[in-house]
C-alpha cells in the first residue's frame, strides 16, 4: 500500500473527495459535477471546442489574468496605505524591503496590461466569429461592460503608486472627462473628491480599485460564464462556409 493509497483511504480524504481515482467515465463525471467550481462545465464537451483556433483561449487568458490580479492584488494590499506620501513610500518599501515585493508588483502590473489587451482581443474574436448571435446578445453586452470595468480597474490602479507617471496620467485622463457637456465637471469632481488629483482622489481610486470594481467584475464574470454554459458552451467560428465569388 503506497502512501497515496493510504491517504485516499482515510475518512477525512473520503469526506472531502467522494469519487475514486479509477479512470472510469463515472469518476470523470463526478469530478466535474461534484465540484462547485468545475460544475460550470458540462460533463462532456464538444471535441471541436478544444481546438486552439476555436476561441484562441482569449476569454480563458483574460480570466487567468483576473485570478492572478486578485491574488497579487490582495498580497499587495497588505503593504499599501492610500495616503500621501506614504503610498509612494510603500512602492519603495515593496521594491527594497518586502521579500518578493518587486515581483508581486511587477506581476500585478504586467498582468493588468495583459488583461486589458486580451479582453480587447477576446471582444474582436467574438465579433469576427459572430458569436454574439442570438441567444447570446445579452452576453455580448455583459462582455462590453466587462471590458469597460477592466479599463476602469486598470485606470484606478494606475494612480495608486502616486508617482509622476500616475499623477499626470490620471490628471490627463480626468481632464478628458471634464469635457463632457453638463455633467463633465461634476463627474470629475465626484471621481476625484475635489477639483484636482489629490489625496482624496487617491482614497477614492483605492476604494474603487480594491472593492467596488473587483466585486462588480467578479459578479459580471460569473454572469458571463454562466451564460456561456447556458447557451451551449463556447461559440467558435460560424459553421456556415464562407461563400466564394
Amino acid at each position: 500500500m503506497t502512501v497515496g493509497e493510504w491517504v485516499r483511504n482515510t475518512s477525512v480524504y473520503r469526506s472531502v473527495i467522494r469519487h475514486g481515482i479509477a479512470p472510469t467515465n463515472r469518476n470523470r463525471s463526478l469530478i466535474i459535477f461534484e465540484n462547485l467550481f468545475l460544475h460550470v462545465h458540462p460533463v462532456k464537451v464538444r471535441e471541436k471546442t478544444l481546438r486552439f483556433t476555436h476561441t484562441f483561449w482569449l476569454g480563458g487568458i483574460t480570466l487567468a489574468t483576473t485570478i492572478i490580479l486578485v491574488a497579487t492584488g490582495i498580497l499587495l494590499m497588505f503593504y499599501y496605505h492610500p495616503s500621501v506620501p506614504q503610498a509612494y513610500r510603500d512602492m519603495k518599501e515593496l521594491q527594497y524591503v518586502v521579500d518578493n515585493g518587486v515581483f508581486l508588483r511587477n506581476l500585478h502590473r504586467w498582468a493588468a496590461h495583459l488583461m486589458v489587451f486580451s479582453a480587447f482581443l477576446h471582444m474582436l474574436r467574438v465579433f469576427y466569429h459572430r458569436a454574439y448571435r442570438p441567444p447570446r446578445q445579452f452576453n455580448w453586452v455583459v462582455g462590453v461592460v466587462l471590458l469597460l470595468l477592466t479599463l476602469l480597474l486598470s485606470y484606478t490602479g494606475y494612480l495608486l503608486p502616486w508617482d509622476q507617471l500616475a499623477f499626470w496620467g490620471v490628471s490627463v485622463g480626468t481632464n478628458m472627462a471634464k469635457q463632457a457637456p453638463l455633467v463633465g465637471e461634476r463627474v470629475r469632481f465626484f471621481l476625484l473628491g475635489g477639483n484636482i488629483v489629490s489625496e482624496n482622489a487617491l482614497l477614492r481610486f483605492y476604494v474603487l480599485h480594491c472593492v467596488v470594481l473587483p466585486v462588480a467584475l467578479l459578479l459580471l464574470i460569473s454572469v458571463h460564464i454562466w451564460r456561456v454554459r447556458k447557451d451551449g458552451g463556447v461559440q467558435g467560428p460560424p459553421d456556415d462556409e464562407r461563400r466564394t465569388p
Partner: protein, 233 residues
C-alpha cells in the same frame, strides 16, 4: 384526505408543452443533424485549462522577473512632465484630442464607439454573414464610395491623417475585394462582410492612434521618432 390534483387536459400544445418536436405543416420533419464527437470534460478540457493558466503565469512571471514596472519620482503637481501621457490604452483618445475639439475627442467619439458596440447584437448586425459583394445592388457601390469619400473629407478637414489614411486604405480594399476571384490568393477578401469591414476600420484606427500616441509623441505632443533621442524642453 388530500384533494386530488387538478389535471388540465388540453389539446393545445402551447398550453401543455409535453412534446418532443413540433412539426409545422409547412416544414419538413428533419432535425439539424449533429454528428459531433463529445469528449469527457475531465481530463480533456480541465487539463488544457490548467496548462493554459500555467502558461499565462509562466509568461507573466518571466516578464515580472525581467522587466520592472515603471516607478518615477513622487507625484509633484508643480512639475509637469512634457508630455504628460495617460495610460497606453487611453493614448488613442489623447491622440484624438490633438485633432478634434475636446468635446468630440473626449466624449462624442468614445461615446459613439461604446453605443455601437452595445447595439451590435440587437441590430442584427452581420447575423447572416453575407459577404459584401454577394448580393448585387446598383446602390451599394456608389453608397460605399460616397461614405468613404465623405469620411475622408471630414477627417482631412481636421488634418487627422492617422484616420484618413486607414479610411482610404480600407475603402480601396473594399472595392478590391469585389474583384477577388475564386481560387485566387485574395479569395478570403471577397468573403468579408460589411460590418467586418467597419470593425476592421475601427480596429486599425484604434491601433494606429494608440501606437502613435505611445511611441511617436514627444514634448508638446510634437511628432518624434522613437529611435531618435527625444529632445526635451
Amino acid at each position: 384526505m388530500t384533494t386530488p390534483i387538478e389535471i388540465i387536459d388540453s389539446e393545445d400544445p402551447l398550453a401543455n408543452p409535453w412534446r418532443v418536436a413540433l412539426v409545422r405543416p409547412d416544414g419538413r420533419p428533419a432535425v439539424h443533424e449533429t454528428d459531433e464527437r463529445y469528449v469527457m470534460t475531465f481530463p480533456h478540457l480541465i487539463l488544457r485549462e490548467i496548462i493554459m493558466f500555467q502558461i499565462v503565469v509562466i509568461a507573466l512571471s518571466l516578464a515580472a522577473i525581467l522587466f520592472n514596472a515603471p516607478l518615477e519620482s513622487i507625484a509633484n503637481p508643480v512639475e509637469t512632465p512634457n508630455p504628460a501621457k495617460a495610460p497606453w490604452y487611453f493614448l488613442g483618445l489623447q491622440e484624438l484630442l490633438h485633432y478634434f475639439p475636446p468635446v468630440v475627442a473626449g466624449v462624442v467619439l468614445p461615446g459613439l464607439v461604446g453605443i455601437c458596440l452595445v447595439v451590435i447584437p440587437y441590430w442584427r448586425v452581420n447575423l447572416e454573414g453575407a459577404p459584401l459583394w454577394a448580393t448585387p445592388s446598383r446602390w451599394k457601390a456608389p453608397t460605399i464610395a460616397a461614405s468613404v469619400i465623405l469620411l475622408s473629407i471630414l477627417f482631412v478637414a481636421f488634418r487627422c491623417w492617422p484616420i484618413v489614411i486607414p479610411t482610404v486604405i480600407i475603402g480601396v480594399a473594399m472595392f478590391a475585394a469585389s474583384w477577388a476571384r475564386a481560387g485566387s490568393r485574395w479569395q478570403w477578401l471577397w468573403g468579408v462582410t460589411l460590418p467586418e469591414w467597419i470593425m476592421t476600420w475601427f480596429v486599425v484606427i484604434a491601433v494606429v492612434l494608440t501606437v502613435i500616441g505611445t511611441f511617436f509623441r514627444g514634448p508638446g505632443w510634437m511628432w518624434v521618432w522613437p529611435w531618435m533621442d527625444a529632445p526635451r524642453g
